[in-house]
């Protein structure tokens, strides 16, 4: 790998500090630890290889876009896509996935945490990543557009749809706003 010593140090200073953000995105996309670690490792390998060509200022967005690419090209992503229904009401599916066993347990306050996490995990990946980047990584719309490679308008509509689906899923269980 042809990266000189200066780049090496710059990589350590600019890219390594974003490891938690990288892992969090990978973890939410892959939905399990082992796949997420694979994705992050792969992403860092790519990032290191292409770092010489990176001249942008926003290292975090740059790295997250690589994490995302690494995920979508992974086997984990393909398996997930196959498991998604080809058609049908996504909200109903989410409600089902996020649902606890009986209506009574739903109202237990402590369940909100589990419900929210399950409902987010059940979102289609494009909506899930937009929501995670916004609410957990606190990226601006512009940064999310940069990471996901779509126009800002698309980011806005994906976020709106993600939130609408989430609200419906949570409301279906009496836990939602």
């Amino acid at each position: 790998v042809a990266v000189n010593g200066g780049d090496d140090r710059r990589f350590a200073a600019e890219i390594l500090p974003h490891l938690d953000a990288a892992y969090n995105l990978a973890r939410w996309l892959a939905r399990n630890d082992a796949d997420a670690q694979d994705v992050v490792q792969d992403a860092y390998l790519r990032a290191f290889r292409f770092f010489g060509g990176f001249e942008g200022r926003n290292a975090r967005a740059w790295l997250l876009s690589i994490v995302r690419n690494a995920f979508y090209s992974s086997l984990a992503a393909r398996e997930q896509h196959e498991s998604l229904p080809e058609d049908g009401d996504v909200a109903a599916e989410i409600a089902e996935l996020a649902g606890p066993e009986s209506p009574e347990t739903l109202l237990i306050r402590g369940d909100e945490r589990r419900l929210v996490n399950e409902a987010i995990a059940a979102l289609p990946p494009e909506f899930r990543e937009a929501l995670v980047l916004r609410e957990l990584e606190e990226l601006s719309y512009r940064e999310i557009a940069e990471v996901t490679g779509v126009p800002i308008g698309t980011v806005m509509s994906r976020l709106s749809r993600a939130r609408a689906l989430l609200r419906r899923a949570l409301r279906a269980h009496g836990a939602g706003p």
């Binding site: 792969d42 292409f50 942008g56 740059w62 949570l170």
Partner: protein, 264 residues
């Protein structure tokens, strides 16, 4: 022409995210002022956002992964596989080339888009200091949520006495403080929490009355807000979103003026 509910509702998310252009936001606010239905919709959106932020897990990278990556930096081709699964590297190598282009295009866009990311030397130093502070054991020299513990700690270590307010009630609890070195001088650094994010506030005495304006910048994925108050210079750095970082700055600006003297 005034805004209807039909126009207003789709804008609520962007409005609450602080992403609506000012003119549009003002229009929306006017509509909200006179429309209880849309105010209720706004409250629902706020509750949802709070439920997500308050409950969704921000997964931290496992230590094993951290160590493996740090160790592999010098020989990235030799990344060990993650037991017991095979490393993805091999099966992905044929694909790698096709992604080079995608990544390069993305990073090119980043350069173009982030015009606001023009940062000066101080900003660079501050971001470096912020990143350093997040490494284990570097954030705090004095760890306390009590201003009355943190403030005296600075006495005798600096030639000025920084104000140390706690903003726990406003959602920015004080975590503690440390000494830092920025722009060729010792400064006070105060750390505040906001959900899973850390805000570092750097402050030091500076002549002048301050012009009352706040400047925001972004660099390397971090947001910076800087402002002056009579006798002081302030710099806040965080990976927190820009809107809330400005909120944090506003809390500071509302404090009564402080004398930077009386160090010891």
């Amino acid at each position: 022409m005034s805004m209807t509910c039909h126009d207003a509702v789709p804008l609520l998310d962007a409005f609450l995210d602080g992403e609506l252009e000012p003119a549009r936001a003002a229009e929306l606010e006017r509509h909200l002022g006179g429309c209880e239905v849309c105010r209720a919709a706004r409250r629902r959106s706020e509750r949802l956002s709070a439920a997500v932020r308050g409950n969704a897990v921000r997964h931290a990278a496992p230590d094993a992964l951290r160590l493996r990556l740090a160790g592999a930096l010098h020989a990235p081709a030799a990344l060990p596989p993650i037991a017991p699964r095979p490393a993805p590297v091999h099966r992905l190598l044929p694909l790698a080339a096709s992604f080079v282009l995608g990544i390069l295009v993305t990073s090119g866009a980043a350069v173009y888009v982030d015009r606001a990311d023009r940062a000066d030397e101080t900003a660079r130093e501050l971001v470096a200091s912020h990143v350093r502070s997040l490494m284990p054991g570097h954030l705090l020299d004095v760890q306390s949520t009590d201003s009355h513990t943190v403030k005296p700690w600075f006495a005798g270590k600096l030639d000025f006495s920084p104000p140390v307010p706690d903003f726990a009630a406003e959602g920015f609890p004080l975590l503690g403080g440390r000494l830092d070195y920025v722009g060729g001088r010792s400064v006070a650094a105060l750390a505040y929490g906001r959900r899973q994010h850390v805000v570092n506030l750097y402050l030091w005495p500076a002549p002048g009355t301050g012009d009352g304006s706040t400047r925001a910048a972004a660099m390397n994925g971090y947001n910076l807000v800087t402002w002056r108050a009579p006798g002081w210079r302030y710099q806040a750095v965080s990976d927190l979103n820009a809107a809330e970082l400005r909120q944090f700055a506003e809390l500071w600006r509302k404090l009564p003026p402080q004398e930077p003297t009386a160090g010891r």
